[in-house]
Symmetry: C2
Subunit: 242 residues, 2 copies
């Protein structure tokens, strides 16, 4: 019987290069709200989501692909782009068949770091697509890094809780010697039944709720409401069946 | 009534510069075992502990001060030095009145980073001196950063649990908007009554217990058994009354 692959949790983009992620799967986690929005747009039929790290590149790719440009700073659509970061902006009636070019601060940065550091596969995870991510990871027999995007390189609770939810589902498939993962699993076990009250204590809630986004944030901690697997392939996030 | 000072928890040395620590107190936490050993040596009457970041500097300062040189790698005394990192090596009968020159990997590095980043005061914290640290912090009316040394820049549980223990004691004196602190307090609340079993799950336990240091590690999570406040002053850690 072969050894199980390993699973680690990376609590901030700043810590990514303390791990050897080569030949591994990295799950990009940005619960509020990039990866929740990506799952939702793809679940609702978007052809692809192109994650980009700058506004200029977002505009340029919007023009060259005919895609929808989206991105927010401080709770408002960025001047020059057309839509925001809210999953509620991407119902099937609007997004089906289209390309979404999305610029975000934390999640996109981590995604590009993962690619540059040699990850063999990059997928995105959020509560809306929790089960799809877990099913995929359990089947691959590869080492896994759960990458929390955090906020400006700081630790955040919501990404950590998602890592904990994944670990609780699939821990039997992996060898886990990682304090960050033990902590994430503990935190999820402690709070899985009071997620809506816990998220009201997070710094991110206080940042976004002042923009009137409470409903958005509650959606972003709802399990399996947009249950597809976004996988990165040549610049695009597309749906892969699992 | 003036606003309360703030308190943050820094989960890895790598994250220190995401915070503005100027004019603040930084608590260096390296539970297994540097800061536990520092508290113990000073509690047992050492005149001072000089924390240094290299073996060469440890040897040089040992010669110039007539101090005891100490440091370990992989559970063994470093060649050229005289003693190790175990608090059990520093009973009063041995250390009273002496200078201890101690080189450690993680704690010393964070201490020097804190000084270089403008901290106005640096103290060291561990379960053996938990109450002394809390009493000091509660009285200063200054912003506080609880700095976890981690292991080679990775998050670890034992330093986080100590941060959580401090927060539980003194949270009423501070404004705390910090996900790392919320998490640390939750983890301590969850595990305060099973510390000896929890530490057996940590990666650091597996690293050190293979060297036969179980008793050492249990001592390092014992509250107030060496209850002094080590404070940094011109190169030395010395006891300050609180």
């Amino acid at each position: 019987m072969s050894a199980k692959p390993t699973l680690h949790t990376v609590l901030s983009p700043r810590l990514l290069d303390t791990y050897d992620i080569s030949n591994s799967i990295v799950v990009i986690i940005d619960v509020f709200r990039a990866t929740s929005t990506i799952a939702t747009a793809l679940y609702n039929g978007a052809a692809r989501v192109i994650p980009v790290d700058s506004v200029d590149r977002c505009i340029a790719l919007g023009e060259s692909t005919g895609g929808i440009t989206a991105g927010e700073r401080d709770g408002k659509v960025i001047p020059g782009l057309s839509y925001g970061n809210s999953p509620a902006e991407y119902p099937r009636s609007f997004i089906e068949g289209k390309t979404l070019v999305l610029t975000t601060t934390n999640g996109t940065k981590l995604l590009h770091m993962a690619l540059n550091n040699g990850a063999s596969q990059v997928v995105t995870g959020s509560f809306p697509n929790l089960s799809a991510v877990c099913r995929f990871l359990a089947k691959q027999n590869k080492n896994v890094y759960l990458g929390c995007s955090g906020w400006k390189d700081k630790f955040n609770l919501e990404d950590t809780l998602f890592a904990g939810a994944v670990i609780q589902e699939i821990q039997d498939y992996f060898t886990i010697h990682c304090d960050s993962s033990l902590m994430a699993a503990d935190m999820y076990a402690m709070h899985r039944n009071d997620m809506n009250s816990l998220i009201r204590k997070t710094t991110h809630w206080h940042r976004l709720a002042s923009y009137g986004l409470e409903k958005d944030l509650e959606y972003c901690v709802s399990r399996d409401v947009a249950n597809v697997l976004p996988i990165y392939h040549e610049g695009d996030l597309v749906v892969q069946s699992v």
